[in-house]
Subunit: 109 residues, 2 copies
DNA sequence: CCACACTACTACACAAAGCGGAGTACTCCA
DNA sequence: TGGAGTACTCCGCTTTGTGTAGTAGTGTGG
């Protein structure tokens, strides 16, 4: 099974969840996601997701120079983002529950 | 959050799980999925998934006439399908676990 | 008898989203 | 000077679920 297909729609949620623990820039969010167990996430996917969420009005954004490399574009949750995170979490939990029920092998009656 | 995006990659798994409980034809699989809680699945998606899984060699297929309507194209799991179901279930469970950990709000230390 | 609903499937074009690859650019180190 | 690590952008590709339309069979209500 291809892990990348599972991420569809869920990467948004994962990125929002990571940002709940503090503002972060793309490369950093990528590291945090991989550390959390999403090891196969591609960098372009994370940058794309951040851009999309920002454009959707769920994130704030500010650029900060770094002394150890290129500038960093930080993103953080705003109210819309927190609401989206809460709502998406519910949707995800419900969906995951449905799937886990479906996956339980039925005993012969 | 769009439920349809969550289905990506998971619909295969859901269809395989439903077929584990007995052979079924497209319209029937659709009903079983909806009854299981996947209410927003579109019919074209199910037919497409069945075709894809069949072409991938995970399903057997045979046509049977029906007295209450058009003919029915039945699908059933073969060894490849059962293996795929087992493997995909593992992948899904691991993925869902990872996500649930990520979604837990961290307490201030 | 005709319209409609339900069943059952196919085909086609479309859209969303993750990915690979290339490119840019900065810092540090061998 | 040239790699490695950091940090980001852009483009085109692929997969996959969806909407719409079309075909076709059965049964039912006006």
């Amino acid at each position: 099974m291809d892990t990348s297909q599972l991420l569809k729609g869920v990467l948004d949620l994962a990125v929002l969840a990571v940002l709940r623990d503090g503002d972060g820039y793309g490369y950093d969010v990528l590291r945090r996601l991989r550390q959390a167990g999403l090891e196969d996430v591609a960098d372009a996917s994370v940058y794309g997701t951040l851009r999309r969420l920002f454009q959707a009005g769920a994130l704030t954004s500010y650029v900060q120079p770094s002394e150890e490399g290129p500038h960093r574009k930080y993103y953080g949750l705003n109210k819309t983002g927190r609401d989206l995170l809460a709502q998406s979490t519910k949707t995800w939990n419900h969906f995951a529950d449905t799937m886990s029920v479906l996956l339980v092998e039925k005993e012969a009656a």
